[in-house]
């Protein structure tokens, strides 16, 4: 029902945008994405979790109007996170994701269709998305509009009778604008609507129970079956006088679970000679808690909806990132194609304001607030055809 209203309210506006896109007749045309192949190894370590695996991205043109893309990604997960250790045992699993896309360029309009599937032992996600964009106003302006639909099958390992579903709808609109010969900005808005089973089937909430020796009982989480969110992001890219680039973005997020979030990021890219590029970034994120979240409920079934998922709590995190890209000399590359090797390292510090660490030996509700840090590495090779 919420989804129907959402699309009805937005439908008129979308038709106007599509109508305008179809009539626009500025003479500059956009281009297909560059042809390239990337092979990546990623690794995440933090909070008792280690996740690593490979990824491959391929983009190839069939002709001047049509291009194809393919993406394959693997997460190998070994988890002993604080959520798991408080109520369950460490586990390992694997997630595989594949994407196929086609881009079609007609005059100055670029259309793309993308299908995606993500497969875990207990979660199968399928989605399809369509995006249309167009350069206009002498190529100073680019307008884009995207739609996406996703369908998820959720299972619970060890319970063959458990089977749930959820659907996700996304609509995205963006304007990119060149403001000066050194500055471009982008405004991106996106609405996301979920329906169905939105819980994590393994997570529990805790409540005070003086009848138990531990003084605390556990029951399964109960989430609402709908969630609507809205985000707005402002981005800017600025070319510095000595050939370096400065990036900025600010995003505001709000949803029907009463979570409000902001994130802000500043990035800096400095080329050195013709073969090296250095990247630096700082990002800060904060969010308020969901209306039905509590670290410790006063009793069992204290309210209709219950959550103790730390991702729904009040917290902030800060990221410091550095990256290095090296363009390989001709003798080390294929034919005359340009190729690069890149290494990126991100450090993230998470600080939770109302999620306590139950693994610490302390009175119930008086454990220290949880915090952890994570290190993320990406090593990848890029080849440009």
């Amino acid at each position: 029902m919420a989804v129907t209203k959402l699309y009805q309210s937005a439908g008129c506006s979308i038709l106007w945008i599509l109508f305008y896109l179809s009539l626009s007749s500025v003479s500059y045309s956009t281009v297909l994405p560059e042809e390239r192949a990337d092979v990546l190894y990623h690794r995440y370590e933090g909070g008792g979790m280690t996740i690593d695996g490979p990824a491959v991205l391929l983009r190839k043109k069939a002709n001047e109007s049509i291009a194809f893309s393919a993406y394959y990604y693997v997460d190998t997960i070994s988890s002993a996170s604080v959520d798991v250790m408080s109520t369950a045992s460490p586990y390992s699993e694997e997630r595989k994701e594949g994407q196929l896309g086609i881009q079609y360029l007609r005059d100055k309009t670029l259309m793309s269709l993308n299908i995606r599937q993500s497969d875990e032992s207990d979660f199968l996600a399928k989605s399809v998305s369509f995006n249309i964009s167009q350069d206009t106003f002498g190529d100073l302006t680019n307008l884009s509009l995207g739609l996406s639909f996703g369908d998820n099958d959720i299972r619970r390992n060890g319970d063959e009778f458990f089977q749930e579903q959820s659907q996700q709808y996304r609509i995205n609109a963006a304007i990119s604008q060149i403001l000066t010969r050194n500055l471009s900005v982008n405004i991106n808005v996106e609405a996301v609507s979920d329906e169905g089973y939105l819980n994590n089937p393994y997570r529990t909430v805790r409540y005070i129970d003086n009848n138990l020796p531990s003084g605390v009982g556990y029951q399964v989480e109960v989430y609402p079956r709908t969630r609507n969110s809205f985000s707005t992001k402002l981005s800017a890219s600025y070319y510095l006088p000595y050939r370096a680039a400065l990036f900025f973005h600010y995003r505001y997020f709000t949803d029907s679970w009463q979570i409000n979030a902001d994130d802000i990021e500043i990035g800096y890219r400095q080329p050195l000679a013709d073969t090296l590029e250095l990247d630096f970034k700082v990002r800060y994120y904060q969010q308020t808690q969901a209306s039905f979240y509590s670290d410790l409920f006063p009793y069992q079934d204290a309210q209709n909806f219950l959550a103790r998922d730390k991702e729904l709590s009040d917290f902030n995190d800060i990221t410091l990132g550095v990256g290095l890209t090296y363009q390989l000399p001709e003798k080390l590359t294929f034919s005359d194609m340009r190729s690069e090797v890149s290494l990126q390292w991100d450090y993230i510090r998470f600080n939770y304001n109302n999620f306590r660490d139950p693994t610490v030996d302390a009175a119930v509700g008086e454990e220290p607030l949880y915090q952890f840090s994570a290190n993320i590495f990406r090593l990848f090779f890029s080849l440009y055809f």
Binding site: L57, A261, S342, F380
Partner: protein, 81 residues
Amino acid sequence: MSLFNQRLSIILTSLALLTLTGCAQLSVEPWVQPYERQNLADRIMRTDRHPIANQHVAHVYEARESARGSEGVGGGGCGCN
């Protein structure tokens, strides 16, 4: 109509009106000519300079933060227990 739907409708309608009455119709000429865009065309200015890394960055945040949308790259799936 909920506040969420009202807000979405207002923004999208504004966006449509902005484009319908676009700069070209207001007789404003493009003020940065194609030959003046070599700085903006420099590859160091590209936010999608490393698309495969951007996908991973978005996935890391998506699994650990509640905010979603407007990333500019696809997401989904988890690994966040």
